[in-house]
Amino acid sequence: MKAAVVTFPGSNCDEDTVIALERLGVEPVRRWYKDTDLGGAEWVILPGGFSYGDYLRSGALAARAPIMDAVEQLVARDQLHVLGICNGFQILCERGLLPGALRANRDGKFRCTWEGVRVASAPSAWPGFQVGQSFRLPIAHREGAFTVSEQELDRLFQEGTVFLQYCDREGRVVDEAANPNGSMGAVAGLARGRVMGLMPHPERAVSQFLGSEDGLEFLRLWLQGR
C-alpha cells in the first residue's frame, strides 16, 4: 500500500505522522504542497500544523494549494482514502471536501489536552470502526469548534457523516461538560465517502509513555479502509 503525507510550508505534525505510519509498517511517500500529484499513493494524510500561517481562516490558504487539486481529482474518482488531522481537517472543510467549518474555540483560546472521542456512526469506507468505540487522543488547536447551520447539522447526523464526537471518560457524549471547544453536536470528526477528518491527533498517541496508544489503533483501523 502506498500512503502519502503532505507537507505544507507551515505543517508541523508531518514528521510525527510519518513516524506513526512507520511504526505501523507503512513507508509513507512525502509530498510537498506544490506537487501536482500524489506520487501514485491511494492513501493520503493531511497532517496538523499551521499550513499557511492560518492567517485568514485555518486551512483556507492551504486549501487552494496545487496538491489539493490532485487530492480533489482522486477523491472524485474514488481512488483515494483521505485523512485530515487537525489543520488537515480544516483544509478539507475549506476545500469543500467535508461539510461545515471549524471556528475559534468557545473561549477563543488554544487548547492542548487529552480528550475522549467516541465513534458516532460507522463510516462505510472503514469497516474497522464500530459505533460506540472510544479513543483517548490529544487535541491541540485554537480553531476546532465545528460549525454549520442547525438544519445542516441534523442532516449530517442523519446521513451518518458525523463520525466522531467528544465524550467523557465513560464514553458518554454530554454536550457541555465533555465538549472541549464548543463544537456543535460535540462533533470531533467527520467521514463522508473516503474522506475523513478529525480535530484530535492520533499520531501523537502512539506509545504508553506518551500517554496512550489509542492513536496507533486508530491509524491501524484507518489503514484498513476499503
Binding site: R57, S149, E150
Partner: protein
Amino acid sequence: MSRWQVVVAIRLKAEILDPAGQAVGHVLQQMGFDTIAQVRLGRLVDLEVEAEDREQAVAVAAEAARRLLANPVLEVFAVTEAREVGGHR
C-alpha cells in the same frame, strides 16, 4: 490602468452563532457598556488593485472574496468601498 484601494467587508451569516462576539459583548457589559446590546465580529480586507476602472477593481475584489477571502459556509461579503489612489500608467 490605475491603482484602486478596495475594501471587502466579511460578516458571519445571520444564522451562525458568534461566540467570540458574545464574549466581547459580555466583557463590554462588565465594563459598564450597558447600552450595547449585541456584538458581532467580522473581517475587513483592504486590497490594492490595478484596474482599468472602478467596475473592474470591484469585480476583481469580489472574485477574490468569492474564491478565497470569505468562507461561503459561514460568511457573506460585500465590497464596500473602491477609491482610486494611484494615477494612470
